[in-house]
């Protein structure tokens, strides 16, 4: 029982981690909580459903969906956030803008696809596997492995490539990076693209796990993933992964041992406690406010 729940928790947790990474990347660079991330995730899942039902092969369909969702991320940045940056608006203006965008995306999905829950095909089921006497679904193992590989690829991208170096530079000091010849706006746009891609993959994985999609599906996972990102120290990649796993496991454990009704509240309780006790997260460094 305990081990099965642990596996369930890890599966959900790694997906939260994948979403949380999207928050973390954008926050690290812009110091902005991208509220539209949850609806981008829902958008990715819907696109996957649309393209898979066109039946030109599952992998090309998902690839198209991932690309489109990434472009949606780019569009969000180019159309709404870049003008605000150029104008030098207050940070809270950008936050409210992303809330507005999430409303637009979520409700457009509702108008275009209907608000009812739609069936999503099961993509990764190869029967159940038995390891050390514990039975677990192959879907869970596949989700865990795919997410893990993606997270490793992202880490590699940020630590060892040129664009990753530019991203880290902008994160530390946008002005200095600009003076060093880095195209700051392009780096930010690329970050939004990465966020859209990871959200789309997470959305597709979750949809095939639960076998359903609906327009409002992004709200709760978005908030929980945000809690996860804050728990680990927002802006730090491995922190997000750790936070995602903690939120996922504590949520499934709470559902098993305390009853399912408070399942959704756990993430928020964790979030509020972390913000009160250690606002910079477990791995975060203490920020110094300069005048």
């Amino acid at each position: 029982m305990f081990v099965e729940q642990l596996v369930n928790g890890l599966t959900i947790g790694i997906i939260y981690a994948l979403i949380a990474v999207g928050y973390s990347l954008v926050f690290g660079i812009l110091r902005l909580v991208n509220f539209s991330h949850g609806s981008v995730y829902a958008f990715g899942a819907h696109m996957s459903l649309v393209f898979i039902s066109m039946e030109f092969g599952i992998i090309p369909a998902i690839a198209v969906s991932i690309l489109l969702t990434g472009l949606l991320g780019v569009a969000i940045d180019k159309l709404s956030l870049e003008p605000l940056r150029n104008k030098g608006s207050k940070p809270i203006a950008a936050l409210i803008t992303t809330i507005g965008i999430s409303y637009i995306i979520q409700n457009m999905l509702m108008i275009l696809f209907g608000s009812e829950t739609k069936r999503f095909p099961q993509l990764l089921n190869f029967g159940s596997v038995s390891i050390f006497g514990f039975t677990m679904g192959s879907t869970q193992i596949a989700i865990f492995l795919i997410s893990l590989v993606l997270l490793l690829v992202l880490t590699f991208l940020i630590q060892f490539t040129k664009i990753g170096l530019a991203m880290r530079g902008v994160e530390q000091n946008p002005k200095a990076s600009y003076l060093m010849g880095i195209n700051v706006n392009r780096v930010i746009t690329f970050t939004f693209f990465l966020g859209g891609v990871s959200a789309s993959i997470a959305g597709t994985l979750v949809s095939s796990y639960y076998q359903m999609v609906f327009p409002g599906m992004g709200f709760m996972p978005g908030l929980k993933a945000f809690s996860a990102a804050v728990l680990g120290g927002i802006g730090i990649l491995y922190g997000s992964v750790f936070g995602g796993l903690v939120v996922g496991i504590s949520e499934t454990m709470a559902a098993t041992y305390l009853g399912g009704s408070y399942r959704d509240a756990i993430a928020f309780v964790i979030l509020i406690l972390v913000l009160l006790i250690r606002p910079n997260g477990i791995f975060g460094k203490k920020g110094i406010k300069k005048v």
């Binding site: 902005l32 809270i92 979030l271």
Partner: protein
């Protein structure tokens, strides 16, 4: 892309006009508001007008927190819900009149505001916004799951109507309308006096530059908590009224959408104004009712309002007119002729 002149589009002229004739306009507006049920003469319209009143109170209370003190709250529906549930539960279980339960409910909401405010005001900006959002979700979960008290997802029905001298106040006999008018009046006057007092000046100082405010000796935490408590109090009052008007509440009446609607009103009307809150609720509450064909696109339009306002007019429709010339205190002799 930059649209020039949109910042000071003829609002100034309208303002000057309104200012010049304020002695006629304000009594006229009060008269119209008192006579409104007889002008509209339709229960359906009155229901919308009453909802505009409820949301005006909510927007005024959030306006104090977000508009004046600059603390973005994404969880204002929590206080609204607490007020509604508290008043409904007390009046059903103990059979007490609305006129006693409403202040109690508002006080409970204010205490929750204090509990939320004290620890969270160490945070600022984004973190505060997220914490208030989390708080609102936790409150909604409690309403959803605490079956013995809140009746869970089924909600509370048959909430008694407020009654005065033995007559039930309803929408049909205009009692509810005059009741919300009185509550709105109390809220407006209280907020007006707070904003124009030492507290109000401290709040705007915190909003404009928190570090500078600390340097000038403003006890920022104290004033932020005051803003939260007063805001929560009036949101609770609005919630109590709503519960006794609709006579049925459930957790779905107080979602994140409600918080965002209130925030949209504050932003559209103009942060840091009182008039803007009335204009914002008038526009945002009445338009989906009047324009039925956009009902479906309602939340898309709310989203667009948030995005476009932040881009082109972050101070809101009526905002940005608040700057008053600096006045010297009485007894200060100024030699410079220009300043006197």
């Amino acid at each position: 892309m930059k649209i020039k002149g949109l910042e000071n589009i003829s609002v100034k002229k309208i303002y000057r006009f309104l200012d010049a004739y304020r002695k006629i306009i304000i009594p006229a507006l009060i008269l119209i508001m008192l006579a409104l049920p007889y002008i509209l003469n339709s229960q359906y319209m009155m229901r919308i007008v009453i909802m505009i009143g409820v949301y005006s109170i909510l927007a005024l209370s959030l306006g104090l927190i977000t508009g004046y003190a600059g603390q973005t709250s994404l969880g204002h529906s929590a206080f609204y819900a607490i007020g509604a549930y508290a008043s409904a539960i007390i009046s059903i279980n103990f059979g007490i009149s609305f006129f006693i339960t409403a202040p109690i409910a508002a006080l409970i909401a204010a205490i929750m505001g204090l509990l939320l405010g004290l620890p969270t005001l160490r945070l600022s900006g984004t973190y505060l916004a997220i914490t208030t959002l989390g708080f609102a979700e936790v409150i909604r979960m409690i309403a959803l799951n605490w079956n013995s008290v809140t009746n869970g997802p089924l909600g509370i029905s048959r909430i008694p109507r407020p009654s005065l001298f033995g007559t039930d106040l309803t929408i049909a006999n205009n009692g509810m309308y005059y009741l919300i008018l009185v509550l709105l009046g109390i809220t407006t006057i209280t907020i007006f006096f707070i904003v124009n007092s030492k507290i109000g000046r401290a709040l705007t100082a915190i909003r404009d530059d928190e570090t500078a405010a600390i340097m000038m000796g403003v006890k920022t935490t104290k004033y932020k908590v005051i803003a939260f408590v007063v805001g929560a109090f009036f949101a609770g009052l609005a919630g109590a009224f709503y519960a006794h008007m609709i006579r049925f509440i459930d957790p779905n009446s107080f979602t994140f959408d409600t918080s965002i609607l209130i925030l949209s009103i504050v932003i559209l009307g103009g942060m840091g104004t009182i008039k803007g809150m009335f204009l914002g609720s008038l526009l945002l509450i009445s338009f989906p009712e009047l324009l039925r064909f956009v009902q479906e696109y309602r939340f898309v339009i709310y989203g667009l309002i948030l995005v476009l306002m932040m881009r082109f007019r972050p101070q809101g429709l009526l905002g940005g007119q608040q700057k008053t010339d600096y006045k010297f205190p009485k007894g200060v002799v100024v030699k410079d002729a220009e300043n006197s």
